[in-house]
Every structure is written in structure tokens, then in C-alpha cells.
Amino acid sequence: MTDRIVHMLVLLVLPPLLIGMINKTKAWFGGRDGPPLLQPYYDLFRLMRKGMVISTSTTWIFRAAPVVTLATVLLAGLLVPISRFHAPIAFTGDLILFAYLLGLARFFTTAAALDTGSPFEGMGAAREVTFACLTEPALFFALLVLAKASGSLTLTQMLHGPVGGFAAATAAPLVLVAIGLFIVILAETCRIPVDDPNTHLELTMIHEVMVLDHSGPLLGVILYASAIKLCILGTVLLHVVAPFTTGQVWLDVPLFVLELLGLTVVIGVVESVMARLQMRHVPYLLIAAMLFCGFGFLLLVR
């Protein structure tokens, strides 16, 4: 029972902190003090207390999308194990549900963007679905590698590895998969070099431009959901690259949180030292991610 409570706590409370950590890292690189670490929490509370301004051209899709997105990422979060605990929900084949829940979120987010009838939001939606067509195969190659290496179709076991850890021969494929997954995370959570979460030029954005018209609590829900998405995708990656445990349950969770924060620092560093790619070059990066995961698969089964 405790493990479920801890899981829920981490899943619900931690994500905004990760965003804060990224922003802090970027501020540090830019030589600024930056917003406080807890700023994303303040933002969420502030948004929740505001009223909404809604476009006259929108329908129920526009209001349903943030809610559906939050529901799907929460449910997806219940499938991914945190630290050494088993995920609250684990069954054979849950990895596919995980991927498709994120697909459902994408369906509604992009539909809501088109709902406003704004050319910019349409542009963002078009980019989102296009890039998803390249990240999805990469993700599934990664899942294939993990399934083969662990002999399981349950995310918990795939990510924890079989008893006694992954076999020695899987080290090289897992390195490739980790690189591919990292790129997938950057793309799915809309970070540089794929997307710039801070820019204010609508022409160059993907995710931020899709939610231009959302305001108040709806915007808060969207920001919260995308933070959770970052958290669960980061968790997946962490299980691949840093499967460390101390053996002590009460130490494992803080260690895990530290690892997650470390990952966000890495993302912040990447954002600070790289420029956003030209839009037409983004597919190259994603195809490279697909190739890395594919090579991981080839290496494992050859």
C-alpha cells in the first residue's frame, strides 16, 4: 500500500518541480538568477484561480482536450514503475496501452488546436502529428528491445529488468535505446532542439502554439499534464540508463527523485548549449532516433 501512495505522491506532486529545475538550469547557464524553483507551482495555483477567455469559434472539443490529456497522462503514469516499486497497474501488454494513451492525448490536443481556426495553431498541430509519426516507431523499437531483453510484456518488469538485472549482452543495445529514447523525450515534451518552449514567435513553435487560446484553469491543466508527461517519459528513460538501487526502500525513492532532477538538469544543459533545429531538419533528428532504437533491436536479435 505504501508503495502505491508514494507512487501517487511522486506522480502528482513532483512534475512541476522538474520544469522548475529545467528553467533554473537554463537561467544558471544564462548567468541569471532565474525564477524560483517552485515557480511552476505558483503558476499553476494562479491559473486555477483565474477565469477563462474562450474563442467564439470553439466547441466542446476545445474544453474537453485539456481534461482528456490530463486523464490519459495520469493513467499512463500509473503504468510506469517508479523507483523499485511495481507500478500500481501492471498487466501483460500494458506497454501498448501506455503508448496509445499518449496517442489519445495527442488526438484531442491537436483537434482542440484546429478547433480555434487559428492558422498558427493549425501549424502547430500539423507539426505535432507529423513528428509523432517518427517518434512512435522509435518508441516501439525501444519497447521491442526492452521486451526481448526482459522477456516480459509488462512495463514494470521490462523497466526493472528480469531478476538479477539485464543480461550482459544487452548493454550495447540498451545504450542505443537510451540515446533514441532521450531524443524521443525531447521531441515528445517539446524541448530544444525540436521545439522551443520559451519562444514567442508563433511560427516556430509546436506545443506552445497549439495551446495559445487556452487560458485560466484549462491552461493550468495543460501545463500540469505536460509536466507529468515529462516525468513519466523521464522515468522510463531513467530505468534504462540508471537502474541503481541501494537495497533500502526508504533510500531508493529519494535517490530516484534525485536521478529525475539530474535528468532535468541534463535537459536544461542541452537546451542551453544547443539551438533549435530548423523545422525541416527536425525529421532528420527523429529518424536518427528511430535508427538508434532500430540498431539496438538489430544488435539484440542478430
Partner: protein, 672 residues
Amino acid sequence: MLSLWMVLAAAGVLALSGLPACLLGSPSSTGQRAATLLMVIGSGLGLGGLVLSLGQAAPPALGLAWLLPWGQFAVTIDSISILFLGPVFVVPALGAIYGLGYWRSSEHPDNGRRLGLFYGLLAGSMVLVTIARDGVLFLIAWEVMALAAYFAATVEEDNAEVRRAGWVYLVATHAGTMCLLAMFALWRHATGSFALEPSAAALAIPAGVAGTIFVLALLGFGFKAGLMPLHVWLPGAHANAPSHVSAVMSGVMLKMGIYGIVRMTALLPVGAWWWGGVLLAAGAITGVAGLAFAIGQHDLKRLLAYSSIENIGIIAMGLGLALLGRSLDRADWVVLGMGAALLHVWNHSLFKSLLFFNAGAIIHAGHTRDMDQLGGLARQMPRTMMLFVVGAVAICALPPLNGFAGEWLLYVGLFRTLGPGPGPDLGAGAGLPVVAVAAVALAMTGALAVACFVKLLGAVFLGSPRSPLAQHAHDPPASMMAPMALLAAGCAGIGLFPMVASPLLEDAARTWAALPDSSATIASLAPLRWITALGLGLVVLIIALVLALKVLPRAKVVARTGTWDCGYAQPTTRMQYTGSSFGQTLVELFAFVLWPKRHWPAIRGLFSSSAHYKGVVPDTVLDRLVLPLFHVAGRYLPNLRVLQQGQTQMYVLYVLVIVIVLLIWGQMGGQP
């Protein structure tokens, strides 16, 4: 036995349902109502027969001698037939009800009766196709089905585009029938009879002949099912038929091609592994390429037609996995692959019919099939849009609707081809990891489907109207809404409770591969109850979050304004992203298959004059391969007309020559 007679009676009632209207003489709504009533009665009768046959130990069979020189009137309903008969009894009847509002005989006095006649004949012949157990009977039913579909789809024959689509269909379907004729001839040669029943003779077919029969079946039935690159007829025919005919063609008739492949592979001896490999590869290519083409379309019904091709690809992937499992002796692949394929047959017939019905409602409202002219229909047609969203989410295979349940089984099956690992989930038998790459192709179709249907949803229903065409649009009448609502309910039902279907699917898979009853069950390989639990969980969570947002003290709409225009002072509705612009990046990504034709405006200097962009994605196979080939043939083959002398003597001479040649061939030791 009663069940079989009921199904036969249903076939008769369905086939003749359009007749009373023709006998009435003048076009009237009475005739159409009578036809619809007969369709509903026939379908009810048939469904009753199916339910009765479920409980029986041995499949009911019937064999009657007839006057034709070959074969006999042999029919059987086994679990495979039951699964394919389901859509046949559901979709056409719903389509007939839909037709009451969509194709009123008062509005179409010229062709209403003709449509009713052939529509019924199409449904009835499909019943016969799925239960026929004799090659000759099967071919007769098959040909009636093909021709009835032709006449039903080309009712608007004064339109040149419709005639062209009809011709392409006719040529393609007969190319397929030719392959089937060859296949049945070979079958008869190998087994000694036309009977389509498992027999010792059938199991003793040598591998080479069996392989040839398999390839011929794949080609012949592939034309009907629309496997790439045999899909050439499909987009045109589906786009130009009346919407409820499109629904029946796409939702049910394509599945007859799939049925043929399932039936023939069930009868043939266990084949080499390449059978499954070919089908799996064809399915994967069809799936990805079908959607890539779909995204490039302007015409909303063409888009739906290409998406049908994609779904056929998914079904073919399931069949390929099952065939591989049968060759390599992996019962779990068979059960999961076959289960996924057959469940997807059902699923596709539900959501694709729903979407075609929806397309009909849109065309009624907007008077155009061009997505780039539509937009903003959501405010005028809220209920239609609600049902469309259900269909779109289902066809994208997103939880919690039915598309997901079917694809999930397929994914689990494909992952199990990885071969044994340290854990227990992948089974113990040897794997074939190459096959698992198909899971990646399936994932790509999933992402492409989201792109495709978000495009359709956005271009038609969301945003603001792009043209005044649809200013008087409104939700269609109840006769059109009710069938759509029923289909949507079916999507939700199967999506949330897929385990209801699993005994039937397991039974069909066992019949197909002759597995023992004790072999693996779907529930033991893929716990469907979790899909139910999480589907319901998702629904509850969404409702809870909606309520939670409602309780927030200040979460009120404080202002309604125009969409944020990013500072541009005069936004117009023409600046919205159209369907074409939405799909453009993907079209470019897939340009190596799509070969889009584009006309770029040349914009020079300041204040350039008005320019326009035009982009079309033609069908690569039809427009760049088949039609040029036909043009070449049309140029050179007329030289053969010298044979057509028009003199009776010459024709008698031809007959004489052929008789002599045959006699010599017989003497030389050809087949007696």
C-alpha cells in the same frame, strides 16, 4: 439445422428485398419502406439463425444436388462463417434505414428502385459467399456480389467520374475473378472435386501446388480486399458510390476478400513460412502506404477509402501472423493473430460504416466532398460531430474504443514473435524477431491514423466555415442518426467489453488451424479484462476531472472573443489551416511513395498579383502504372482486330482450327 435454413431464408429475403419496389411501377416511398422493412426482417432472421447456430456442437451443413454440371449446392455455417456473417447482417440493414433519409426515392426517382434492387442483391449474395462450400456455388455468389456492387455503386451514371470509377472497378474485380477461376481449377485438379471442405485429398496437396493455390488466392481475393498494390479500384468506387453503398462496400464487401483468404488457407495444408511472411509484409506496406495516401486526399470519401485499405492491411498482418504461427507450430501466434484479424474485421465494419454514414450526412449538408471547402460544421451539426469523434477515435485504435482492443491483440501477438527471453511473457517456442518489426509498422500506422483523422475532423467540423456552401446545414433526420448512433454504441461496446467476443474468436482460430480445444486461450495470452477495467477507468477519470473543474470556484468563462490572431488585424477564415496544409508536411515526408503533383505559385517582387497553390495526390499505382500500361495496350492490341472478319465462314474456320489443335494436344499426352 433450423439455424442454417434461417440464414438461407435471410439470404433470400435480403437478395429480393428490392423487388417489391420495382413491381410497384412508379417511384414511391412505399417501395423504399418495404425494401427497408424486408432488409430488417431478413437481417433479424439471419442474426437469429447465427445465435441458434452458436450453441451447436457440429456446424450445421447442407448439401443438395443441382442441375449444373459441376459441384452441388453445399452450405455450412462454421465459426469462421459466423464471424463474417455478423457484419453482413448488421451493416446493410442499418444502411437501408439510413438510405430512407439519405437517398429518398422522391428525390431520386430515376435510380431509387435500381439502387434498392442491387443493394439487396449485394447483401444477399454476400451471405451466400460466406456459407458456400462448393467452388462453383462460391464463384456464382462471388460474381453476383461483384456485379450487384457495380450497379449499386454507379447509380449516378450520368456523371463521367462515376462511370470511370465503375469501369476501373469492373476491370479490377474481373482480374481478381480470373485468378479465382484459375485457383478453383487448380483446386479441382489437386483434390478431385470443387468441394470446399477439409479432406484427406486437400491435405495431401503437394507443397508446390499448394503454394500456387495460395498465391492465386492472395491475388484474387487481394483485388477484392484492396491489398496494395491491388487496391486500384477502391478509392474511386468508394468515393463515387452513394454513402450507404460505400459503407457496405467498405465495411462488409472488402471483408469477403479477407474471408476468401481465411477460408482457402484453412483448407490448404500447412504451408511454408513464406506464406505468412508475404501476407505480413503486404499487410505492413498496405497499412502504412494506405494512410500516407489517405492524408494526401482532399475528397473526404476518398480519404475514408484509403483508410479502409489501411485497415485491410492491419487485418492482413493478423492473418500473416496466424499463418506464420501455423507453419512454425506456435499456437499462441495463431490464436492472437487470427483473433486480432477477425476482431478487426468486426471493428472495421462498425467504425468505417459509421464514418461513411457520417460522410453522407456531411455531403448532404455541405453539397461537396471537398474538405477544403468545408469547415465549422460542428455548430450546425453537433450530434453528427459527436458521432464522428467516436468513429475517429475508434478507427485511430485509441482506447477505450474497439479499434484499440483488436490492435492490442495484434501487438501482443507480434511482440511474442521476439522469441524466448528471461521472463515468461514471450512464450517458450523459438521466435522470429524479424516479424516483430511489423509492430513498428503498426505503431506508425497508429500515429498516421491520428494525423489523418484529426485532419478530417478539423477540416470538416472545426474552425470556421471556409465557404458559404454549408450555411444551411443541420443535423440529419432521425432515420440517418439512429443507425449511426447504433454503430457508435457498438464501437463503445466492443471497446469496453472485448472479452465477450473472445470465445467466438478462439473457436474460429481453432477451426482454422485445426488446433486442439485445450490450446491457449486469448484470455491467458492477453488479459482482455484489463482493457475493460482501464477503459472504464479512463471514462470515470475524465468525468471526475470534468466535475472537479466545474467545482473550481472561479473556473468560469469570463469573456468570449475571437480567436487570438497573433496581432494580425484582419484575420479571415481563409487563413485557417486547411486539410491540405495540415497534411502537407506528411505528404512531403512520404513523397517517395506518393509522388504528389504540385503547382507552386511563383511569387516575385513586392505586391505580387494573386497566386494559387494546387496539390493533388493521385494514386501512384493506378495513375502512374496501370493506366499508362492500358494506354499502351490500347495502342497496340487493336492490331488483333484483323481476326474479327465479320464473316461466318471465318469464325467456323477458327472453331475448326481450335478443335484440331485440341485433338493434337490430347494425342501428345496432355491432360485427358
